[in-house]
């Protein structure tokens, strides 16, 4: 039972943190932009409102770009919940996208079924590869972090090898596959925008993951193992199996994110590097405090920020590399928990006192 005044303060604290972050960013913008006022407008307002009207197209772009990071955010959420520092999201995303693409190109199927099968395959393979670090961890107690990090590179190079030597469309100058069959393309939720139905799947996935983590015995076990493994073992949970399960689910979510992003946004497979969504997923999960329901919100935050920076570079002449700096600054301040902790404590004390007083009055009343 969170206190009203306290939760109000939490919201207020969030705003102040963002305000400070933006203030610092603004100082940087002042140095760089030709027109700082415009830059700030681009960063804050233009992503949703442009020329006094709702910038619907931009809004859909923001939503569209949330899609892959929602998936990786959820993946990190599940994997980290089991206290496994698994960084394999990157590899799973790329592999999921690649496998989905190969099926989308090479195995003709009916509409609907094709997308389903391709995404399913991407999901499965994404989960499958995560068995490796998970089992090595459970059976051999070897660091899952090392294993997953190294596996990302192995996966990437293997994909590039097959892409280049087996699946490349040699008529193209860029290293890419042949185009996906039409049946395998995830159609747009709103035509003419970047927003595909993948977004909806991401939202559904969020709900499912939230239910899984907080309303099922498996999610519960995973969380307890994450808090205290010895305790979970003693309580009779299948610790090893659950750890593997959590990593596989994380891999599946990442793989699904890769597959959906690939089929929802692109026409051919053209990722030549680890896509980076895995790392963004970590950021998202941390901002969301590992709470699945908060993941889309955190993803929105990042996506909005990205879009704002992009518009700054188009309209206000802020150089692209400033984006990284501004993002770094905003992350640092926004996630600073102890920021204003003194004030928070005062409110807590005040509340506690009021509560005690109330109790005393009540008990006196009762005695009388």
């Amino acid at each position: 039972m969170e206190n009203k005044r306290q939760s109000m303060f939490e919201i207020f604290r969030g705003f102040i943190a963002i305000a400070i972050a933006i203030l610092v960013a603004f100082i940087l913008i002042l140095i760089c932009a030709d027109d700082p006022g415009k830059a700030l407008e681009c960063l804050l307002i233009k992503p949703i409102i442009s020329n006094g009207a709702l910038n619907t197209k931009s809004i859909f772009t923001i939503l569209a770009r949330m899609t892959p990071v929602i998936f990786t955010g959820l993946a990190v959420c599940v994997m980290f919940s089991a206290n496994q520092f698994n960084l394999g999201g990157e590899g799973s995303v790329m592999l999921g996208g690649f496998v989905a693409a190969i099926i989308a190109i090479n195995i003709p199927m009916a509409t609907g079924a094709h997308v389903f099968v391709a995404v399913l395959a991407g999901t499965m393979i994404g989960g499958l590869v995560m068995i490796v670090p998970a089992v090595i961890k459970v059976k051999l107690k070897a660091s899952e972090m090392v294993c997953s990090l190294m596996m990302n590179y192995v996966i990437m190079f293997a994909i590039l090898h097959f892409l280049n030597n087996k699946f490349a469309d040699r008529s193209k100058g860029a290293t890419q596959t042949y185009p996906f069959l039409k049946t395998a393309v995830i159609s747009k939720m709103i035509p003419g925008t970047e927003l595909s139905w993948g977004f909806l799947i991401a939202i559904i996935a969020t709900v499912i993951v939230a239910i899984f983590m907080y309303r099922t015995r498996w999610g519960y076990s995973i969380r307890m193992i994450g808090i205290n493994e010895s305790f979970s073992k003693y309580s009779g949970m299948k610790v090893g199996g659950m750890i593997v399960l959590s990593q596989v689910i994380g891999g599946m979510l990442s793989g699904m994110g890769g597959a959906i992003e690939m089929l929802g946004r692109y026409n051919t497979f053209l990722w030549l590097d680890l896509p980076g969504y895995g790392w963004t997923g970590i950021t998202v999960a941390i901002l969301a405090k590992n709470n699945p329901i908060m993941i889309p919100l955190a993803a929105l935050f990042i996506s909005y920020l990205n879009r704002g920076c992009e518009l700054m570079s188009i309209y206000a002449g802020v150089p692209a590399e400033m984006i990284d700096i501004i993002q770094a600054v905003i992350f640092l301040f926004f996630a600073a928990e102890h920021f204003l902790s003194g004030t928070r404590q005062k409110i807590v004390v005040k509340d506690a006192k009021e509560e005690l007083q109330k109790k005393e009055l009540a008990s006196e009343g009762g005695n009388a």
């Binding site: 760089c32 932009a33 770009r65 490349a168 992003e261 980076g276 692209a320």
Partner: protein
């Protein structure tokens, strides 16, 4: 301000108005970042020159080159097209055509230019491409002839040269294809050690590769076609003192420190900047290249080889003659170099393996 990428002020407008020429408003979208000392920088330099001459007014936007950035490229194109602020929107590389196709169809009245790509043919898009296979051929002829010129200090008698590529991909292999054929033209028994860094930004790795080429395989000339990574190959040549380097895209002798410049024999040029100037010359003259593929080769000045400085001072006359003859043959069309781009078979790969030392 600090915005290196941005350079539009109204400075020279007056002069242009006098000539009654149109000052084009141009947007240059870079799907990476400037500072590659290669084609993005080259395009930028061309635009700077046009601007200095009062012919255009331009904005450069760096969109970032990572896979995560890739998801934004089409968004940038759309946003810029929708703004309607520009007479011409420029972008480049083989990674952009599909996005450009989508957007150019949405904005049929907007004019676009894409350099270094031949994928699509669209009515409002001008495609400029460069005969890098020809370029590779010329560099190959030169390297193949030089490697046995023991009269040049530091050159050994073994007919072995090296090629450090960025990644194993069609564009890089297009350079390689010409390079191998050219080298074989000079010396049919030549061996070519090809290795890829798998990154355009890891000179350290390139250095290791090049050192192995030099120490293990006796390469004495290495052509680095690997962006920033190429510098590592140059350093390996300098450090071992047993090899020379050849640059790519722009004249790397000019961008290197004196020590590195000293062991750089020449550079194969991909003149993107020049080609943009050429494009505006044509446009002003009433010749529009929209809806066309324009291949810019030796003749059009799209490619070239640096022939002054080290080349001039270090190269024996006989070799110079060979290179000159090759340039002539390419320009006249007597020699036609096959291209790796769009080559549906494994020709390049097979050739590459067959000439390994």
């Amino acid at each position: 301000g600090c915005g290196g990428s941005k350079a539009n002020t109204d400075a020279d407008n007056g002069a242009a108005a006098d000539n009654e020429k149109k000052v084009y408003k141009v947007c240059n979208l870079v799907n990476g970042t400037l500072g590659d000392k290669s084609f993005f920088d080259s395009a930028q330099a061309g635009l700077e020159k046009l601007k200095a001459d009062g012919r255009i007014d331009f904005t450069t936007i760096e969109m970032g080159g990572t896979t995560e950035d890739q998801a934004k490229w089409q968004g940038y194109l759309e946003e810029v097209s929708a703004s309607g602020d520009y007479d011409l929107i420029i972008c480049g590389t083989y990674q952009m055509p599909d996005y450009l196709k989508n957007v150019s169809e949405m904005y049929p009245d907007q004019k676009y230019l894409i350099y270094d790509d031949t994928t699509h043919q669209l009515p409002n898009v001008a495609n400029l491409s460069y005969a890098q296979n020809d370029l590779g051929y010329l560099v190959g002829v030169y390297a193949g002839a030089m490697t046995t010129e023991t009269s040049v200090e530091g050159m050994n008698e073994d007919a072995v040269v090296g090629f450090v590529g960025g990644v194993d991909s069609p564009v890089i292999n297009d350079f390689l294809y010409g390079f191998i054929l050219g080298a074989q033209e000079s010396n049919p028994d030549i061996k070519i050690d090809t290795r890829y860094v798998n990154s355009y930004v890891d000179p350290a790795k390139a250095k290791e590769l090049a050192e192995s080429m030099i120490n293990d395989k006796k390469c004495d000339i290495i052509w680095g076609v690997a962006g920033n990574s190429g510098n590592g190959a140059a350093e390996a040549a300098l450090e071992t003192g047993k090899a020379f380097f050849i640059g790519v895209d722009s004249d790397q002798e000019l961008t290197f420190s004196p020590e590195l410049a000293a062991i750089t024999l020449t550079s194969g040029l991909k003149n993107i900047g020049n080609s943009l100037i050429w494009f505006f010359d044509e446009w002003d003259a009433g010749v529009e290249h929209f809806g066309q593929h324009t291949l810019l080769g030796m003749k059009e000045g799209g490619i070239g080889v640096v022939t002054d400085k080290n080349y001039d001072s270090k190269t024996p006359e006989a070799v110079k003659e060979k290179v000159a003859a090759a340039i002539e043959a390419i320009s006249s069309g007597d020699v036609v170099v096959p291209t790796a781009i769009g080559n549906q078979t494994d020709d390049v790969q097979q050739l590459r393996e067959s000439v390994k030392p």
